[in-house]
């Protein structure tokens, strides 16, 4: 029981450290740096684009679908990489398994394609 609670003490120390570090860094910076504000420096950073207009803009839902598709194939690589590294030890069974896995994902891609997710209009 004590051991269990001790683990939470460790977690709370980590949380405190996590809070302390940025606060300390920013406060220290505030005292050390020179203070010469210009209008350009006050702007929010937005990839070099001048931020104009309301932030309540409509987002095209297709961005979201593309992101979803990307995540699927991103995860696929995560699974394929360890398999490729250990290919020689795993042999035929793992190869068949991975082929089934890729085939199922490909069906997903064909599905998205047929449902016109990949066309942008």
């Amino acid at each position: 029981m004590i051991e269990y609670i001790n683990n939470y003490v460790l977690v709370s120390i980590f949380v405190l450290l996590g809070l302390l570090l940025p606060v300390a860094a920013l406060t220290l910076g505030r005292f050390l740096r020179p203070h010469r504000p210009t209008p350009e420096k006050g702007k929010p950073y937005e990839s070099g684009v001048e931020p104009t207009g309301s932030s309540w803009v409509r987002y095209n839902v297709r961005y979201y679908l593309f992101a979803l598709l990307f995540v699927i194939f991103d995860v696929e690589t995560v699974f394929l990489y360890p398999w490729a590294v250990a290919y020689n030890q795993l042999g035929l069974f793992a190869l068949v398994e991975v082929l089934i896995f890729i085939a199922l994902l490909l069906i997903g891609l064909v599905y998205a394609w047929k449902k016109k997710v990949l066309t942008w209009t």
Binding site: M1, Y4, Q89, L90, G91, F93, A94, L104, I107, V110, Y111, K114
Partner: protein, 515 residues
């Protein structure tokens, strides 16, 4: 060849054949749906799915005869507990598929208009993937496999509810279902994390062993916390009070075949999860002070409270409903309460009692939803008044509906009565008189709203000169089979009870199969 690889191939993967058949059928249906031209009728896909279900049912039945087996060190168990539930799921999904065929067929609600379903391939194969998730859930004896099965079922259900995209109640119901389902999954997962944290294993049998040590070594209250989180998560899934609020909107918004699927397959899967997870993990747990088993003596009070709340809330709120599908949703909440009674009283008969009631519930609910689907598409309304004068228009349909409603209410000579009688006996047998009394009293209350439908059918007159309700053969099959089973189980329950007592060896569930 390497040692580890040989082991992977050595497992008895053939035991998973039913699931693989369903997966294969669903994949094939997806590919065919993508290859078929857009305007082509998608209904042949449903027959493919039905064939898959029949083959899978045969394979499950073969597993019932065979010795229990396991894959990957008790991660996936094919025991009779799993097989019994799988047969219920397969029957429920087959019926839902038959109803869905008629739903998109000529004259069906989903064939045109505001309630049209354009994604008809999805309509059929998502029922199969949902079924696959439920089957995995029944067989899983590992927290991770259990959760994967749960999510496969849940994700398929979310999309199925949202299929009528132009129909506003469907969108509302689907959204509520996603949000509530997400919360339920998170709570279940949180409870599971406690189990893993206390025992260091995700295997349910190992968790059961480890919890004993955890309880004795002073982590008793964390064991309780895990139990309550898991009960809350499962209660969402089976729509038991006080976590039932999503059910009415979802049941109303979903296409009727999907509502039937949710009411039967999804709910039965919730009970499979409840029994497998909670019994395997918590049943061996005993109080170290007096040696009394914990689940029997302390925790069942809370399960009993959930059961009582479901019965009371479900049956009383159903009184005020005018939409038949909403009424059936509250009725299904009440039935979740009835089904929790044997789990609260927890005798050795819990499996056969619950399974018999689930089978009875399968037939009477499927039959009732089949009739509701026909009447709703005939009248274009799901209101209670749509049933007015049904006996004049279609006497057979009205009689069948009466039978299903009487069975749901639990009147003698029907399957529902026998089932409820056994649940009642289990509560009385363990001297939980309050629970038994609530069960009887709320059943009496439920007569009022079931009879409201019967009154509409027999005593009210519809418009003069109405033609009878057209019954497509698929829906007719569902109604006929359900009616026959409801009567048969009500008049001659003994063969079914014998089957449950002798052919299905439920105690296999607690048997460690890995050597």
């Amino acid at each position: 060849m390497d040692e580890a690889v040989k082991n992977v191939l050595d497992w008895n993967w053939g035991a998973m054949a039913p699931e693989l058949v369903i997966l294969g059928a669903a994949t094939l249906m997806t590919i065919l749906d993508l290859l078929l031209p857009a305007g082509r009728d998608r209904r042949p896909l449903a027959w493919l799915g039905l064939a898959g279900i029949l083959v899978a049912a045969f394979l499950v039945w073969r597993n019932v005869q065979a010795e229990p087996t396991h894959i990957l060190y008790d991660m996936y168990r094919v025991d009779d507990f799993a097989n019994a539930f799988k047969l219920v799921f397969l029957a429920g999904a087959a019926f839902a598929l038959l109803l869905a065929v008629a739903d998109v067929g000529p004259g069906g609600e989903a064939s045109s208009g505001e309630k049209a379903i354009r994604d008809r391939g999805e309509y059929f194969y998502l029922l199969l993937t949902g079924l696959l998730g439920a089957m995995m859930l029944a067989s899983a004896a590992d927290l991770i496999v259990l959760f994967v099965g749960l999510e496969v079922l849940a994700l398929s259900s979310y999309i199925l509810v949202a299929l009528r995209r132009q129909y506003l109640p469907a969108v509302e119901g689907a959204f509520k279902y996603v949000v509530n389902g997400g919360i339920a999954s998170a709570i279940t997962l949180y409870g599971m994390s406690f189990l893993y944290g206390l025992t260091g294993s995700t295997n349910l049998l190992a968790v059961g062993e480890g919890l004993r040590d955890a309880y004795v070594s002073g982590n008793a209250y964390l064991v309780y916390v895990a139990f309550f989180f898991l009960v809350v998560g499962v209660a969402f899934k089976i729509a038991a009070a006080p976590f039932h609020m999503w059910a009415p909107d979802v049941y109303q918004g979903a296409p009727t075949p999907v509502t039937a699927f949710l009411a039967v397959v999804s709910k039965a899967a919730g009970f499979a999860l409840l029994l497998r997870l909670l019994l395997t993990a918590f049943l061996g747990l005993a109080n170290p002070l007096d040696g009394s088993p914990l689940l029997f003596s302390e925790l069942n009070v809370y399960v009993g409270a959930v059961a009582a709340a479901s019965m009371i809330i479900g049956n009383t709120v159903a009184l005020r409903q005018t939409n038949v599908k909403r009424m059936m949703a509250y009725s299904s909440i009440a039935h979740a309460g009835y089904l929790l009674v044997p789990f609260a009283s927890l005798t050795t008969m819990v499996f056969s009692q619950m399974m018999f009631y689930l089978v009875a519930y399968l037939f009477m609910t499927m039959g009732a939803f089949a009739v509701i689907q026909l009447v709703a598409r005939d009248r274009g309304s799901e209101d209670l008044r749509a049933f007015a004068g049904l006996f004049r228009r279609s006497p057979l349909l009205a009689l069948a509906m009466t039978l299903f409603l009487l069975s749901l209410a639990g009147l003698p000579l029907t399957a529902g009565f026998i089932g409820k009688f056994y649940l009642f006996l289990s509560a009385v047998g363990r001297e939980m008189y309050a629970l038994a009394a609530i069960m009887v009293l709320t059943s009496v209350v439920s007569f009022v709203y079931y009879f409201a439908v019967i009154r509409q059918m027999f005593l009210r007159t519809g418009e003069e000169g109405d033609p009878g309700v057209r019954v497509p053969p698929t829906v007719g099959t569902v109604i006929a089979l359900s009616a026959a089973a409801t009567v048969l189980l009500g008049l001659l329950p003994d063969p079914a009870l014998d089957l449950l007592a002798h052919t299905f060896n439920f105690s296999e569930m607690f048997l460690p199969l890995a050597e």
